[in-house]
């Protein structure tokens, strides 16, 4: 990273966002997603959220699966991030806007963007005055330190963003120290200084994670999903019925704080978990519920109906996300590169597109279109993703690998179309010559289950939606340092020295210089495809689908976190 002293300005971040296309958050069940070309109705020309509708009323939002956790220190799925980013504001957050504008990092609880030292390793920022949590407790600078420590202690799935970058965080994680030496917080002045081990180009984005959203010091270091802790944000979460429902109500403390760029909540949001996508889509279509889960796929039978009968409240926006089958590189048979390549070669991406109601763009690379570093050209291992795969060649390769006839358990989720993906994948593995069986897990428990190293899954479904517009977010899944005992996201358990040495360089590239590093990211992504650490099969577009009750035009789909609840209004 360059040694010049600079202050990371909003303009610079916005410019980076523009070059990148879009963004969204990522994780297992699908973290947030990004929109390449969403509507822009939700923002004014000055970039501040448009005043829409009148406050009051309630809406029913449907989730296809329950959040993995309703505790910001643990949640790492899209269903978790969506309510958390407007409930637990961090020092930084994202602009409340559609499309590229929504990838812009703005100050949240910090009063301005940070001052970054000339070596790129020290970030200094100051808390705004007069901040209070939703329970009325004043916010202190040290709450930031305890929040980060809590997320690490709770084994948050992205904790390696903290432990890999903040000085002393790794020692804290290993219980070699009682606090993180790289974070200094002064309650009297509100000043927070973070020292990094080495420069990290996307560190501002790391500070914008909901997991870095402040909770009070002294909050119990345990899963508080059933009674989420107080936060600072437009909403607060109440009335949690695990795996059934929860309610997000406007935070009465929020309006007093008057933080620019983050609008107050206008409606109460009753969230219901409806795992049947058919039912979910029907309820929104006939207006008995108000919002369809961004990260669900409309069944093919209702997609046409939604397009025809609800064209004024249904649209599709591209997401910066990637869908893949992971293959555990540490156990047989997928510790064998040829076996992995045979699988990669045998998958018919066109088939999976049909299982996704035609909303999946076939592909083979890990970095999706819209993300810097997405490679062009043919797939080194998989062949043409838009053509029929050469099954005979794949079988021959598998025979050559010596893994022909190996037993494989394929892990997947119950909900459609992910269950159908797994049926298809299992069928392909059996055609190839494996003896494959499936293991389907309840949706909400899936990622915590496969993320537990004790489960030791061989292969299965996974996806990733961007957390922030930087390829290093996606490469968390290939970083050997991110492998952890629970909430692991590196499902293939990749430990590749070449990837590590490339990440050591690429992760330092400042956001503003990302375009220059794109060719090197692309080369790395081709290397990953050639090694077949994953069998990537494509990239989705996501639905923006609402009832007539909501002001559709002013409703924002954040490119990072999906539906932006603060933009919803009724009867406006």
């Amino acid at each position: 990273m360059s040694a010049r002293p600079h202050v990371l300005t909003a303009a610079a971040v916005a410019a980076a966002g523009l070059t990148l296309g879009l963004t969204a958050c990522g994780s297992g069940s699908s973290s947030s997603t990004s929109t390449a070309a969403g509507t822009t109705a939700g923002t004014t020309s000055s970039g501040t959220p448009a005043a829409t509708g009148k406050p009051g009323g309630s809406v029913t939002a449907l989730f296809g699966t329950a959040p993995d956790y309703l505790d910001p220190g643990e949640a790492y799925t899209t269903q978790g991030a969506e309510p958390h980013w407007i409930t637990y504001t961090g020092l930084y957050t994202y602009a409340h806007a559609d499309g590229t504008a929504g990838t812009q990092v703005i100050p949240g609880l910090a009063d301005a963007l940070p001052k970054i030292s000339s070596d790129g390793k020290t970030y200094t920022m100051t808390l705004r005055k007069g901040l209070v949590f939703s329970d009325g407790t004043p916010v202190k600078a040290k709450d930031f330190t305890s929040t980060i420590e809590r997320s690490i202690r709770l084994n948050w799935g992205g904790k390696s963003f903290f432990t890999g970058n903040i000085k002393g965080a790794d020692a804290f994680d290993k219980k070699q120290s009682k606090t993180i030496s790289g974070i200094k917080a002064d309650d009297a002045t509100g000043r927070i200084t973070i020292t990094l081990k080495q420069p990290y180009g996307a560190f501002l984005n790391v500070l914008a994670f909901p997991a870095a959203g402040l909770v009070p010091s002294g909050t119990a270091v345990k899963n508080l999903s059933n009674d989420p802790p107080p936060g600072v944000g437009p909403y607060m979460i109440k009335d949690v019925v695990p795996n059934r429902s929860f309610t997000a109500v406007p935070n009465p403390q929020w309006a007093k704080m008057n933080i620019p760029g983050i609008p107050a909540a206008k409606v109460t949001v009753n969230v219901k978990i409806v795992s049947n996508t058919q039912l979910e889509a029907e309820q929104v279509l006939n207006n008995s519920a108000d919002v369809f889960d961004n990260f669900d796929t409309l069944p093919p039978s209702l997609l046409a109906q939604a397009k025809n009968q609800a064209s004024d409240r249904f649209s599709q926006v591209p997401a910066v996300s990637t869908y893949y089958f992971f293959m555990n590189t540490q156990t047989k048979p997928f510790n064998n590169q040829m076996a992995r390549q045979a699988v990669d070669m045998a998958i018919d991406r066109r088939a999976i597109s049909r299982l996704s109601s035609g909303t999946l763009q076939p592909g083979c690379f890990f970095l999706p279109p819209g993300m810097q570093g997405h490679p062009d050209g043919p797939c080194p291992s998989a062949g043409d993703p838009n053509a029929k795969p050469d099954l005979a060649k794949a079988r021959a390769l598998l025979k050559k690998s010596g893994e022909f006839g190996a037993k494989v358990t394929v892990w997947g989720q119950n909900r459609s179309p992910r269950k159908e993906y797994i049926d298809y994948y299992t069928s392909v593995l059996n055609q190839l010559g494996f003896k494959a069986t499936t293991k389907l897990i309840a949706d909400a428990a899936y990622f915590p289950t496969i993320g537990n190293l004790k489960s030791d899954p061989q292969t299965g479904f996974a996806d990733w939606n961007q957390d922030f517009p930087n390829p290093s977010d996606f490469y968390l899944l290939l970083d050997k340092n991110s492998i952890q005992q629970t909430n692991n996201q590196n499902f293939s358990q990749v430990k590749d020295p070449h990837i590590q040495s490339e990440l050591a360089y690429l992760n330092k590239v400042p956001a503003a210089d990302l375009a220059k590093a794109a060719p090197r990211w692309a080369a790395l992504d081709k290397y990953v495809e050639q090694k077949a650490y994953f069998a990537n099969y494509g990239y989705l577009v996501i639905p923006k689908f609402m009832s007539t009750k909501i002001d559709y035009k002013s409703a924002i789909v954040s490119p990072v976190y999906g539906n932006d609840w603060t933009s919803w209004s009724v009867g406006g």
């Binding site: 049947n276 996508t277 058919q278 069944p299 093919p300 039978s301 209702l302 997609l303 046409a304 109906q305 018919d348 066109r350 088939a351 597109s353 049909r354 299982l355 996704s356 109601s357 035609g358 029929k388 119950n414 459609s416 179309p417 269950k419 159908e420 797994i422 049926d423 298809y424 299992t426 069928s427 392909v428 059996n430 055609q431 069986t437 499936t438 293991k439 389907l440 897990i441 309840a442």
Partner: protein, 351 residues
């Protein structure tokens, strides 16, 4: 051995007063002196409705047993083979098995995809027959488990009474207290994920034996309780006293004196348990706790078809129809068997 028809009845069965017309008819027809099972056969032969429905059930069983023949020689595909991007000729025109927006083809009325395809491009007719095999296999094994366990527990509890009865009866109460579907779902989901390892007895999560064992256990109280009541009544009879007086062991009395008197009740329960086991298997599979993917069963087929009802109703209609026909067949036939074996008793499963 003594067969004592008068001893039948007890808990779980209901009695009607007076001499039933069927019995009177038998007496009028001069069937007195014929053995009870021969008499039952004669009565069953006269029940044309029961025989027709029994034939329907047998037809279903035969069709399902022929699944591999149909798959290999007619459909040319297996039950789990995906054909999502394949094409098939319909009316001389090549048609996608699954359209680019995900809608599967409907019935072609030809060898390939006779009843259409599902979302994964699998042949519905092939999966229907294999699914029936799986459903019947699960139901058959479950019924066997139920009958063996229920007979052992019911006879032991009723015969020995006291401590044995107290323990066994509480175990049965414990199982009985849980709604069958809820208990099945709880067990099914748990075992489907981790399997079951009890040393010598091991079950893999996706084995067909998982739903079979679960259903078999769930229905034990429904049969064991009536058998226990009947045994309680039997043990007070003179022929049991006589056997004891002869110095026969408990095991011998149970096998040679009690069991033969329970046999007709057991036979009457078999079709009822088979029918209920098929239904419960379908329900559990529908809820994801029974037969595991990609193995087909009528329950999983209905579940898979739900999301495509508006555009491909055949995916739910066809397995649903098979389920109805099979259950109707075995139930009506079972009623006929019950009437034939004991016209005075109304044995039924209490839920």
């Amino acid at each position: 051995m003594s067969a004592n028809p008068a001893a039948r009845g007890a808990a779980g069965t209901e009695f009607t007063a007076g001499i039933p017309s069927a019995l009177q008819a038998d007496a009028d027809a001069g069937t007195a002196g014929i053995g009870p099972y021969r008499l039952a056969w004669l009565r069953l032969k006269r029940n044309r409705v029961a025989l027709v429905f029994g034939a329907i059930f047998v037809l279903m069983v035969v069709l399902c047993l022929l699944a591999p023949v149909y798959a290999h020689h007619i459909a040319h595909t297996g039950p789990t083979e995906n054909h999502i991007t394949d094409q098939v000729k319909v009316g001389g025109k090549l048609t996608d098995v699954v359209s680019t927006d995900g809608i599967p083809i409907g019935p072609t009325w030809h060898g390939r995809f006779f009843l259409g395809a599902d979302a994964n491009g699998r042949d519905v007719a092939v999966r229907l027959l294999y699914g029936g095999r799986n459903s019947l296999e699960v139901a058959g094994v479950a019924t066997l488990i139920t009958m063996i366990l229920a007979t052992l527990m019911g006879a032991a509890a009723g015969y020995f009474r006291g401590f044995t009865d107290a323990v066994l009866a509480r175990v049965l109460d414990l199982i009985w207290a849980y709604p069958a579907v809820l208990l099945g779902v709880a067990l099914g989901v748990t075992i489907a994920v981790g399997g079951l390892n009890l040393g010598l007895f091991q079950l893999h999560g996706n084995s067909l034996m998982v739903p079979a064992v679960i259903i078999g256990v769930v229905y034990v109280p429904y049969v064991a309780k009536p058998l226990r009541g009947q045994t309680l009544s039997l043990r007070e009879k003179e022929f049991i006293d006589a056997a004891r007086a002869q110095g026969l062991s408990h095991a011998r009395i149970l096998v040679s004196e009690v069991l033969p008197n329970l046999l007709s009740t057991i036979i009457v329960f078999v079709p009822l348990i088979v029918a209920n086991a098929i239904l419960l298997e379908a329900a559990l599979s529908y809820l994801g706790a029974g037969v595991q993917d990609p193995n087909p069963s009528w329950g999983t087929m209905i579940s898979d078809g739900i999301r495509l009802i508006p555009s491909a109703i055949h995916l739910t209609f066809v397995p649903g129809g098979m389920l109805v026909l099979t259950i109707l067949g075995i139930n009506v036939f079972g009623d006929g068997v019950r009437d034939a074996l004991d016209p005075r008793a109304t044995v039924h499963l209490e839920h």
